[in-house]
């Protein structure tokens, strides 16, 4: 049913998806502004949600290959760029909260050189490039380069989970999410290698 939505239906489902995904962030940010949610809680929550949404984004293509006829997965595939953008906004909120809290360039620079934060910063820079080019105009203008650029999401993902593991008080959940991301990356690499190998001609006629 989702797959048979008409054009106005597609616009509506896109807005609904944005609303559902972004409302928790708006609510938490408001709570943080009102000081009913504390800095560490906000930083932790935005970081975890961003990492989970990233995992969802990465899982869509492998899921579609596993279940090519599942309407829900096909719908997610069509909305993958939107989910990626929402992921970026969570990461942005996470970063802005950190920057505002520290409010000291020298401190930010010195902390940024530590492995735990350096991995986060590099991942965030990649996410900026991906977010800025997540639109139809960029897809058309960049052609094949767009695909290559957006494959760097895997690099950003590895860095994100490293950032989690290196900065968390208890890194267990970082390892778990990182392991799932690694499986998705391996599945992707395997698929890419297969498609790069010329298929044996089984139809001599």
């Amino acid at each position: 049913m989702i797959a048979t939505l008409t054009r106005p239906g597609l616009v509506l489902d896109r807005w609904l998806l944005w609303l559902v995904l972004i409302l928790p962030l708006v609510w938490m940010t408001w709570q943080y502004g009102a000081e009913t949610v504390y800095y560490g809680e906000y930083l932790h929550w935005t970081g975890v949600q961003s990492a989970r949404l990233l995992l969802l984004t990465l899982a869509i293509t492998p899921l579609l290959r596993l279940l090519p006829r599942a309407a829900a997965i096909r719908w997610l595939m069509r909305r993958r760029r939107d989910i990626g953008l929402v992921t970026f906004f969570y990461a942005l909120a996470h970063t802005v909260a950190y920057l505002v809290r520290k409010s000291d360039l020298q401190l930010i620079a010195s902390e940024g050189l530590e492995a735990g934060l350096l991995t986060g910063w590099i991942a965030f820079l990649v996410f900026i490039a991906l977010a800025v080019t997540s639109n139809d105009v960029s897809v058309r203008a960049m052609g094949r380069k767009w695909r290559r650029l957006h494959q760097t999401v895997y690099v950003a993902a590895i860095l994100t989970y490293l950032h989690w593991v290196l900065t968390a008080f208890d890194p267990t959940m970082g390892y778990v999410h990182g392991a799932v991301a690694a499986v998705l990356l391996l599945a992707r690499l395997r698929r890419d290698r297969r498609s790069a190998t010329p298929a044996r001609d089984t139809n001599p006629g």
Binding site: E35, Y38, Y39, G40, E41, H44, F169, D170
Partner: protein, 147 residues
């Protein structure tokens, strides 16, 4: 307290945990306790109780640590701090001072520092409560103050 001594001390603290769980959370104040109260504490005899009294007033846990370092070894002090402590100010204490709290690792001390300034004890409970259970938060809370 250097790196080499921290691990055995954490181990000693872990072994003392069951006894601590039964003990009351209120700590003896080194500025106020009389000699009898002090002598009832672990590893404190007449000489050490007198040293504690002579070292008054204590403005910080570091001052208490300096006094006791001359009369007790690292392990004895770590055990004593499960019952006697000069509470540290959450917004002012140095990392070295935070590390004197029994069972506080370098990682936990970093978390204490990361969430400054603390505006309320509720903030401390919720920030540190992300990492340890309620009983441990209550135990840590007994070692800190907010001025």
């Amino acid at each position: 307290m250097n790196r080499k001594t921290r691990l055995p001390l954490l181990l000693a603290w872990a072994l003392a945990l069951p006894a601590m769980a039964q003990a009351e959370l209120t700590l003896v104040n080194p500025n106020l306790a009389d000699k009898d109260e002090l002598q009832a504490l672990p590893n404190v005899g007449n000489e050490i109780a007198q040293a504690i009294i002579d070292g008054r007033p204590y403005q910080s846990a570091i001052e208490l640590e300096t006094t006791l370092a001359g009369v007790m070894d690292d392990e004895q002090r770590a055990t004593l701090y499960t019952r006697l402590f000069q509470p540290i100010d959450l917004n002012d204490a140095s990392e070295a001072e935070i590390l004197l709290i029994p069972g506080v690792s370098k990682k936990m001390a970093h978390e204490f520092l990361e969430y400054r300034p603390y505006k309320s004890m509720e903030q401390f409970r919720r920030e540190i409560g992300k990492y340890v259970d309620d009983d441990e938060v209550a135990r840590l809370e007994s070692y800190v103050t907010l001025n």
